[in-house]
Structure formats: structure tokens, C-alpha cells
Subunit: 468 residues, 2 copies
């Protein structure tokens, strides 16, 4: 495409023609936010350090504490910040151990040759280990949790259950496809254990076929015997399924993951006190912990540096907020929510009110918009006010819709403020999610910066107009 002679007028100038002088001033400030962020943002530099220098930072690990110190120190360097806090919280501690092994063995179709094959695998978070000798069993493939009940103990005792229902490619929103499939990863081990299974392997949560295993949380119910749970890559899952059509397959699993005792960690909080309504808190945050593999660049280093950038941009532009702006980097979203719960408890104890809490936890891709939710009683007026911001954000191709929030800010719901989720484009999210590929190289700096600018603009509008 050349477009040599095509003059493409920016939407921004079209739109401002319909704004009042007062509104114009806000539109111009939002343009300043975008100009500054796209040219001078620090979020890319921060994210490079978090994801590539510190790297994977599961709650309870030394790396997660390094991330606390690093981000607290960077935020403390921003002049406009009135208060920095490292807020204590209790987090679980799970350690992966040496590289896990999943080896399958089966007879060649001829019946004469034994074939052995290693699969690309990762232990799921919070799983128990197999012990150094590993364990072995025959594989039983299923496509959903309820099939286990049908098969029963006779078919499952001592077996390795292979959950292989794919994330559907049919959903436009990949998050929805994830939501439909992830029960296998989260509850598969508990459900299979009830019928005496020895272990589970789960098809990785991604909508592409490749060799990367995707880890993620699994949870044991209290009333079952914990059994090991691992993810295998989608390509291995496809191949294994093919083999199982004609052969029985044995599987040897080795996985020395350990569940250790709970430990102490921290949320990082940086606050700018509001000049007019200091008791109305506007929170912007992400989660500082990530899975131990990869660098947690999209999940959720991006959300952390987006939130830090809001503060830094306000500082750089000399903006003094009317309301209290709080950047919160939560600990332990991935496997416990210790940080989010501790934050809400402390806030409730002080009688605080969060007028709005925005979480960025969907990656550093091109922004599409924001979704919001709240307590039913107060939601409609909030939504109406929220959607009035459309005139300022539509020129940046951002929508404002009902429906959204975030795991870490969820516990704040009882304060009856507005909970907002940042929604970037999610088509590539599950190419990287919870894998060794979630590193800075797979973040596009311009897309990351656009996210920071979009979030800063919305926080600015809420600060200026409130939500009532």
C-alpha cells in the first residue's frame, strides 16, 4: 500500500469539532497524555527489566521479592508520589523442581516395535510431585470433567487421565474460549483423583497448535488425595490423541514439584493524594507475580507497567489529581489472590471508599476499550456516567462497555465503586500465556504504550468528572 496522495485526517480533529470549549480542554489534555506516552513513556524500559532481568516471579519466590523492591523503588523516584507502601500479605509457596518429564510408550502399528516419546510438558501450579522415581500408568483420554463419572473407578483407577478438550477457535474473544476449557486444568486433578487416577495430563490452554506447554493454576479440593497434574503442548496432545485411536499408551511422569509452607510477600502501593476529594480513591493496578516460566511480560508485567505509567505521566505533565490516585501492584494473583484479599481487608478496615478500581491483566496489546461492572444497586448510574466518556475516547478507537473487572480488584466490590477491566486486543494472548515465550521480545512497544495512554486517559476522566 502506498497511500501517497491519500490525506487521512485524524479522527481526533473530526471529533473535537463537536465538543464545547470546556470539553475541548479535556480532549486536548488527553492528546497531551497520548503524545507524552507514545514518545516518552518509561513502561517499556520497566517491563524489559521485570520480564527479562528479574524474569518469572511466582509469589513466594526471591524473584517476586526483587520485583517488589524494583517497582517500589521506581515509583518512589516519581516526584508526585506522596506515599509508597509495601503491604504485607500471606502467599502460598510452590516450587517446580527440575525439568519435568512426560514419556509415552506404545507399540508401533506393526505390533513389533516399542516406541517411546518425550512430550513437551510443564507441571501445573500447586501440583504435588511424583517423587524422584516418577509414576507410570495407562492413559485414558477424556474431553470433559463429567465423563469421569460415566467411566467410573473401574476404568480410571491407577490410570493417567488425559484431558484433551481444545479451546475453541470459534469464539472471537479468546478469553471466552479459555473460560470454556480451563475447568480441565483447574479441577481435572481433583475430579480424577476421586476415581483413583494416578495423575492427570492436560492439553495446554491455547488456541494454536505448537510445542509450547502452558502452565497455570490447578486446585485440589480438600476432600481428595492430591495427584500430580501437568500440561502438555497442543501438538503433543493432538498426536497422542491420534495414537490412542489405535493403541493403548503407557505414560511415565516425573515431576518433583513441592508445596512448601506459606510465606510473607507484599503488594506495592504508590499514592497521589487528591487535592479536592482525597477520600475518593481511584485505583489502577495489575499483578506483580507471574508464573515461574518465561518473564510474565504480558501476564502481567504489562498491567504493572501500565499502572506505573499512569503515575509517571501525571507527574511529567504536572497534573494534580482532584481525587486520590493509587497505583497498586498486587502479589499472588496467579495462585492464590493473597495480595488482592489483603488489600481489600486493609482498605475496608480503614473505611476507605474506592470510587473506581481499574485492572490491566489482559496483556500489552493494542487497546480496544474498557469493560465495567459494580454492585447491582449502583451500577446503572455509574455505567451511564462512564459511557459519557465515549466522546473523549472514541477518537482513539476505544469502547466503553458493561461487563469487566479483574481478579485482584474483585474483593473491593463490597465498597460499591466501579470495577473496570482494561481490554486490549486478545487474539495473540494465548500464543504466550503462561509459557516460556511470555517475554519482552513478544511485546510490541507501541502497543504497550498505547495501552498506558488509554488507561491514563480514562483515569484522568474519572478524576475530573467523578462517576455520579
Amino acid at each position: 500500500m502506498k497511500r501517497t496522495f491519500v490525506l487521512i485526517l485524524s479522527n481526533i480533529f473530526f471529533s473535537s469539532a463537536f465538543l464545547s470549549a470546556q470539553e475541548d480542554q479535556h480532549a486536548l489534555f488527553i492528546k497531551d497524555i497520548y503524545d507524552y506516552t507514545l514518545q516518552n513513556a518509561k513502561c517499556g524500559q520497566w517491563l524489559g527489566y521485570l520480564s527479562d532481568t528479574i524474569g518469572g516471579r511466582l509469589a513466594g519466590s526471591q524473584a517476586s521479592l526483587d520485583a517488589v523492591d524494583y517497582t517500589a523503588s521506581e515509583l518512589d523516584d516519581i516526584a508526585i508520589v506522596d506515599r509508597i507502601e509495601k503491604q504485607r500479605c500471606t502467599v502460598p509457596r510452590w516450587q517446580r523442581g527440575p525439568a519435568e518429564k512426560v514419556k509415552i510408550s506404545y507399540k508401533h502399528n506393526s505390533g513389533m516395535i516399542n516406541i517411546q516419546q518425550n512430550l513437551n510438558a510443564l507441571a501445573l501450579g500447586n501440583t504435588v510431585g511424583t517423587g524422584p522415581q516418577g509414576l507410570e500408568g495407562e492413559i485414558v483420554e477424556v474431553f470433559g470433567l463429567d465423563t469421569l463419572e460415566t467411566l467410573g473407578r473401574a476404568a480410571l483407577e491407577g490410570k493417567i487421565v488425559f484431558f484433551n478438550r481444545p479451546m475453541s477457535n470459534r469464539h472471537i474473544n479468546t478469553m471466552y474460549a479459555y473460560g470454556e476449557a480451563v475447568d480441565q486444568r483447574v479441577h481435572g486433578a481433583s475430579r480424577a483423583s476421586k476415581y483413583g487416577a494416578a495423575a492427570v495430563i492436560v492439553r495446554s490452554m491455547t488456541n494454536i497448535i505448537d510445542d509450547l506447554p502452558h502452565t497455570g493454576v490447578q486446585r485440589y479440593q480438600d476432600d481428595i488425595t492430591p495427584i500430580p497434574a501437568l500440561a502438555i503442548s497442543t501438538r503433543d496432545a493432538e498426536n497422542l490423541s491420534q495414537i490412542l485411536k489405535s493403541q493403548s499408551v503407557k505414560c511415565h511422569i516425573q515431576n518433583q514439584a513441592q508445596i512448601l509452607s506459606d510465606t510473607i510477600s507484599y503488594n506495592v502501593i504508590a499514592e497521589i493524594k487528591g487535592s479536592e476529594f482525597p477520600d475518593e480513591i481511584i485505583l489502577v493496578g495489575g499483578h506483580l507475580d507471574s508464573w515461574d516460566v518465561g518473564g510474565g511480560a504480558h501476564d502481567d508485567g504489562a498491567g504493572c507497567v501500565h499502572s506505573m505509567q499512569v503515575i509517571q505521566t501525571m507527574d511529567a505533565l504536572g497534573y494534580k489529581p482532584k481525587r486520590t490516585i493509587r497505583c497498586v501492584l498486587f502479589m499472588n494473583e496467579e495462585n492464590g489472590l493473597g495480595g488482592g484479599i489483603a488489600y481489600a481487608e486493609a482498605s475496608n478496615k480503614k473505611g476507605e471508599f474506592h470510587l473506581a478500581a481499574l485492572e490491566s491483566d489482559s496483556g500489552g496489546f493494542t487497546p480496544r476499550g474498557f469493560g465495567c461492572s459494580a454492585d447491582a444497586e449502583v451500577f446503572k448510574p455509574y455505567l451511564a456516567k462512564f459511557q459519557e466518556f465515549d466522546v473523549f475516547l472514541e477518537p482513539y478507537d476505544l469502547y466503553l462497555k458493561a461487563g469487566g473487572g479483574g481478579a485482584d480488584i474483585g474483593p473491593l466490590k463490597s465498597q460499591k465503586g466501579l470495577l473496570i477491566g482494561f481490554r486490549p486486543d486478545n487474539q495473540r494472548y494465548f500464543d504466550f500465556h503462561h509459557t516460556t515465550a511470555d517475554v519482552m521480545e513478544n511485546v510490541n512497544l507501541r502497543e504497550l504504550n498505547l495501552g498506558a495512554a488509554a488507561i491514563t486517559s480514562l483515569i484522568y476522566l474519572i478524576d475530573q468528572f467523578g462517576l455520579k
Copy 2:
């Protein structure tokens, strides 16, 4: 992010609740289009062949003729196609020659040491060569065409003019930033030649700093002596600019590009005859030629396979269009528009009427929406009708706006139909545009498929409802 317990309801189901039974039927067919395309589309396979097997395919090259044969044959294999045509057109023929060299030499700050350095460079399309000996001159840096007039012949005679105004990072729409900067590439050589310059080097058209030179068209005015024109990478441009602050810099350029005589090439046309209104043509197209470097994957292999996919999906779903649907793969968009002009001439001669013509020429990224334009007299009613489709496309996060079209379909404007441009996300477009990196590896298959589904859906709606 885990979202284990968050049930994210698809927008689609929300929206359909407000549709009539009649509308529901269309909504369901669009869902079928998406389902089919996301699971079974052939466009990724076609694009792999076009960009990686055939590769760069500048009009007039053997590769461009291979692309004509390949796509015509693939389209001919689709049962629903009533007519295939290879439509003759005249195209220029320009050949790059061996790898071009741009070497700068300057004195080290100490004044004692001579430094020589090769820059990452590509000859611009349609440039003349330097001859095998190359040419040499002192570099004069400018940031815009008009500066040449100020500097005048005394400062420019025999010099190599270095155009170094960057694409601005401040625009949200990268196409706009491109439109602002590209005059240097297109007209730089002609303007500098007027003042006796020996050659020009132009900062590559991209908003990132890296080592990839970006080629693209340049045009000589009739009244000037053609001088060589090359692009250098943005990183080299930044470094060179730094050196020029304290040193004079000599530059040696070697470039054996040649302008050969015009030749014959072809547009590829595949038509499905309309069952009710065969005289109302709905065109969907892209351009088959690309620059010679890279594989023309985003520019514009993506647009071609999007358009082919429309036909293939209609065939697979057993859809019989009411209006005539024509997939047109244009030749020579990049350096002449020979195909687009020939198509419109032939169409006008037959007295045809294109109710709508949609071009996809902005890459294979996540779809954002469509923009349209038309002859002023007929535009408003068209736009109103066009925007009524919003109820069907908004659930797929697609907008319908005024403003848009495409270079190849531009010559159809006199038929007073609606011209439509497909608008995917453009944040990463200039990471690859006109470079060796515009290959299949840098196309995300799911994003490509989503584009094909979006375009097919809009073509379906125009076919069903017309535009009046």
C-alpha cells in the same frame, strides 16, 4: 490472568436478543461465516505459498506472473466460480540489480582517523542506477522538501541529499504518520535534482528504530534529470544525523537498478454471477504485486487471500449471492496502478455498475472495521445504509465509518458506487512494510482469518440488503 470463575458471555448472544427473527437469520449466517473461516479457511495456506514460495513479486517480474497463475488456478478450483479471467494490463518494469551499497566516510572526532561505514540500504522503486562505479558526494541533511528551495543550488549541487524527517509516533493511526512523511520518499529525488543534487538517501518509512531498510515507490517528474534514490534504515539515519552534527560526511552509493521497457501483466478476476441482480457488482479485492524484497505477506498478499476467501467461504457454505460477486486481484498497485486503471477502463467500456468495491490493503492484522467513501452526490444515503449493518458487525468489534477506499478501486469512483477500505489494526504494519521481514512468519493466522471473516460478512450484508 486466570479468570477461572469469570464467565465472559459472548457479545454475540447479548446482541441477538435485540434482533428481529429476520435479522436473527442474518446474524446466524454471519456466525456461520465466522465459524467456518476460523476453523477451515484456506487463506493462510494460500498466503504461505504466495509470500514464502513465490515470494516478492513486483509487477513485470516472473514471480508476479507465477502469482497470477497460482491464484487463478486456485480460484478456478472453487466450484461456485462462474468465470475466471486474466485481464491484460500494461505495467512498468524496474529491476533492482545486485545488493546496493551506501558507504559513509568521515573523520573521527580526533581528526586523525578516517572512519568508513556501510549503511543498511535499499534502492527505492523506479530509481535509476548509479552505474557500476557508483557515485560520491557530501551529505546534506534536510527534514522536508521545502528546505531545498531555501538551501538552493549553491548548497546542493553535486551533493547527496539526506531526507531525515521521521514518521511521527504521536499519531494513533500509523497510516496518518506515514502519509505525513512519505513525500520525502516519493518526491525527494525529483525535488533535489532540480538543484543539481547527485542522489538522495531517505530515512525509511517506519515508526520504529531498527536496521531494516524500507523500499517503496519514488516518482520522477518529467522535467528533471533522474538521480538515484535509496532508503536507509532508521537506526542508520539516527546515527548519521548524530555524526553530521559535528562532521562533514562523504557518501559513496552503488546501485545498479534499471528501468526497462513496459511489459504486459494481468489482473486476476473470479466472478460469481448474481441470481437476482446480476448487474449490481460487488467487488472485493487486493493487489497481487508486492515489492521485490520480502514476500509481500501483509502488503498485500493478505488482501488477496482475504478476497479469495470470501469466494471460498460462500462456496463452502452453499451461499448463492443475489448480486454479482467479483474477487479481483489487481496487478501493479505498488509502482504504477496499471491493473486498477485497466480494470476500471474495461468495466466502464462495458457499462458496468459496481454497487460496492471493497479493498483490503492494510495488512493481515486484527480487524477493527471498515471505512467508506463515494461520489458526494450519492454518499449520504449509502453511508446511512452501510451504517445500518452495525447491528450485525458490532458484536464482532467492527466499526463502520466514513472515510476510506483503496488505490486499486479508486478509478471506479465515477461509477458512483460505494468504495470501502478494510481497516485492520495498524500498529505493527510499519514494522514490516516494504521490507525483507514482510513474510508469513510475521502474519498471525488467527488475525488473518478474522480479517477474512469480517470482509465476507460485510460482503454478505451488502449482497443481502443492497445499499439503497
